[in-house]
């Protein structure tokens, strides 16, 4: 690990005052410390923001506000989250280990880097780690890689479970820019596809600091499910995951939300399937149709073709779980 300065700040305003050509914020450190040990992240200055950002989870005026520093455990076990936004709790508890959930912050979860094996192997080319060096995964070990939204520059997937639920529930990311302006980014626009800048994971302006995650009230409190399929039963990243939430009136689906992890460079919403489900009777046949519709345009790589039937099965299972609650 490269030596670095550690600056502790008490307010968000102080962060922009820390002058260093190569600075990074640190909260839980569960991803960043690991990246620093592997010399993938080499900051000159680390800014400890643990005392500068809120760790509260509050429900007021029909909005859930999750402070940037609220740990994954704190969010997953919050009474309002479990009652009104159970999908969030289910997704978080499907990820990482209890130790990591106790340490990891909410904003850090959004900003974590991909777990593509080539991103972690500094002896191989990787556009995300070393811009314009090439992508090793396209022709290499890509069984965990993307099946949608990728290009020839990057096939990495976003590793978060929490973010899949946030995408499904149309959250907003609130941040303060380097010149102290408050901004809000809708979750669907927060993470980005590789485009021509695969080294950037999201659209957060340079120097901006996430302060809160906001979720508006919704009717998805009764029928939700998070299905995560992975190499072992627990404590592994998703091969594919599905967050499903239904608003039901009787046996009819009034509104549906469907999103996936392990599919693309960003949490992936299945908008066509959501539209298809709206107004339909909740039967297995309808779910199978929705799953086929969702996955019809996916383009698997050399080693991840298995993800298509796996996704179809996961979507059907998640929707069935929603109804059987």
């Amino acid at each position: 690990m490269r030596p670095f300065n550690l600056e502790k700040v008490k307010t968000v305003a102080e962060i922009s005052g820390v002058k260093s050509a190569n600075r990074q914020l640190i909260a839980g450190g569960t991803n960043l410390v690991d990246l620093m040990k592997k010399n993938i992240a080499q900051p000159e200055t680390l800014i400890d923001v643990t005392s500068a950002l809120s760790n509260n989870v509050t429900f007021q005026k029909e909005h859930l506000t999750i402070g940037a520093m609220a740990t994954n455990t704190r969010v997953a076990t919050d009474k309002d989250v479990i009652e009104k936004f159970p999908l969030i709790s289910k997704a978080i508890l499907a990820g990482a280990s209890p130790q990591i959930r106790n340490m990891a912050s909410s904003a850090g979860n959004l900003l974590q880097r991909t777990r593509c094996p080539y991103f972690y192997d500094i002896t191989t080319p990787c556009n995300k780690r070393n811009p314009n060096s090439g992508c090793s995964a396209i022709e290499g070990n890509n069984r965990m890689s993307a099946v949608a939204g990728y290009n020839d520059q990057c096939v990495a997937v976003h590793p978060s479970d929490f973010c899949v639920a946030l995408a499904a529930l149309d959250a907003n990311v609130k941040a303060v820019t380097a010149d102290q302006k408050e901004i809000a980014i809708s979750f669907k626009d927060f993470h980005k596809l590789p485009e021509n800048t695969p080294w950037l994971d999201n659209n957060l302006p340079s120097g901006a600091v996430i302060t809160d995650i906001d979720i508006p009230s919704n009717k998805f409190d009764k029928h939700t499910s998070y299905v995560k399929l992975r190499d072992r039963t627990s404590y592994a990243f998703a091969l594919v995951s599905v967050a499903a939430a239904l608003d039901m009136s009787g046996k009819t689906i009034s509104e549906a939300r469907l999103a996936s992890g392990g599919v693309a460079h960003k949490p992936w919403r299945w908008y066509d399937a959501e539209k298809f489900l709206k107004g339909k009777h909740a039967t297995e046949d309808v779910f199978v149709e929705a799953a086929k519709l969702a996955t019809k345009d996916l383009k698997p790589l050399s080693e991840n073709g298995y993800k298509i039937p796996m996704l179809q099965g996961a979507i059907v299972t998640a929707l069935k779980n929603c109804v059987n609650q």
């Binding site: 030596p3 410390v33 040990k37 400890d48 280990s97 209890p98 990591i100 340490m103 627990s234």
Partner: protein, 197 residues
């Protein structure tokens, strides 16, 4: 005389001149190395920290890169917490920070000031083993023992959190601690035994 040349004034000056030059080299090489080092190798950043570990306050000089795991093992000789993967994947370094389980290998010591850290060494009470430590012995909760300190710290937290309602729940909430000997059944039994009290 043949041997006279060996002791000539010219030879003496040559040899002593060379020796003086050689003697000067280390000084100039060292100075050169120091100059280059400034540019090539970033300077270590050491600061004075006060940490509370197992209810004892320790004041130490610590490199910013030091993790809590390295600090307790290398500087305080508390070698109970183990370094397995050093990347947050195995749980062998599990400790408690403010009573909650966390990974020592991913916690920077400089960020742990003002927090109460408990390692496996802090679990026994006045020489008497913690009930979970006893249960691990009674239920064969280990074979080689390398993962055991982390398993026990995690198991204590698992019981405190109340995630002991079924074998499945215990396994899910202990999934951050790997055991390559496969002593999982004994570990689950140990947790059930303590939870039943």
């Amino acid at each position: 005389m043949e041997g006279k040349e060996h002791y000539s004034r010219r030879n003496f000056l040559k040899v002593s001149g060379l020796l003086a030059a050689f003697a000067a080299i280390p000084v100039s090489v060292k100075a050169f190395y120091q100059d280059v080092k400034q540019y090539l190798i970033p300077k270590k950043n050491v600061s004075r920290l006060t940490l509370s570990i197992n209810k004892t306050s320790h004041t130490l000089y610590v490199d910013t890169r030091t993790t809590v795991l390295d600090l307790v093992r290398e500087q305080l000789n508390l070698t109970g917490s183990k370094k397995g993967c050093d990347h947050g994947q195995c749980g062998a370094c599990t400790i408690h920070i403010n009573g909650e389980r966390a990974l020592g290998c991913l916690t920077l010591a400089s960020m742990a000031q003002g927090k109460e850290i408990t390692t496996i060494e802090g679990l026994a009470n006045k020489g008497e083993l913690h009930p979970m430590q006893k249960a691990f012995i009674e239920c064969d909760g280990f074979q080689c023992g390398y993962c055991t300190p982390g398993q026990i710290m995690s198991a204590v937290a698992c019981v405190n959190e109340g995630h002991t309602n079924s074998v499945e729940e215990i396994k899910e909430y202990m999934s951050g601690n790997l055991c390559r000997c496969g002593a999982y059944n004994g570990i689950v039994q140990s947790i059930q035994k303590v939870a039943a009290r």
